[in-house]
Symmetry: C2
Subunit: 124 residues, 2 copies
């Protein structure tokens, strides 16, 4: 069920991205909240939920929460750690610099979003 593309963390190592710890069952963000960060799972597992359904299960190397960071709109789903997890947090101010230093990071985000669009279109 982990369908996120792999992301090579070595690309980000030099950028000193902060890492946060979440305990199993701890909520990372709630649907409807304002948000200004995206997340990369370093270890553990995160469920993306909406209306009681799990939309996606994100494991190590997977990315989530990019929508609010990119377009400034409220979180469209809730994210919950389903195991003890270490999660890198990418904040808005650093995003352009991160893209410039790691164009493949931008491409990975775009690939993830393209996959979501195709998957959603298929379910229409």
């Amino acid at each position: 069920m982990t369908e996120n593309p792999e992301f090579d963390f070595s690309l980000l190592a030099r950028d000193n991205i902060p890492v946060r710890q979440f305990a199993a069952d701890e909520k990372i963000f709630l649907a409807g909240e304002a948000g200004s960060s995206m997340f990369i799972v370093r270890s553990g597992k995160v469920a993306i939920k909406s209306g009681g359904m799990i939309l996606e299960s994100v494991g190590p190397g997977g990315l989530f929460g990019e929508m609010a960071l990119i377009d400034g709109s409220p979180r469209s789903a809730t994210a919950v750690a389903t195991e003890d997890s270490e999660i890198a947090v990418i904040e808005q101010p650093g995003l352009l610099g991160l893209i410039q230093q790691n164009p493949k990071f931008a491409l990975t985000v775009m690939q993830l979003m393209a996959r979501r669009i195709r998957r959603t279109n298929e379910s229409l």
Copy 2:
């Protein structure tokens, strides 16, 4: 109906992106085709169609066709010029360089994709 974010062409001027002319009613690509380029409308108008429906109308400054370029899968819709149009063509080999030189270009593409994901989710 033009809902694409504005894109500042001056950002791309130095990159010598080729521009193609399309006559009104000329097809730019067909659903199901392989594709390795994305397009930016410089002048004119383009309809994105699927199953006989117009999904989106893209005017000057708007971007389309990014899905196949990003994830290498076939075109998910057909693009037709609805007016005589000048359209910049961005090919795969140059994409990473373009992102690196113009991180805002990557952000614009991501914003466009985020808008599509939210709009599609709302129609579910």
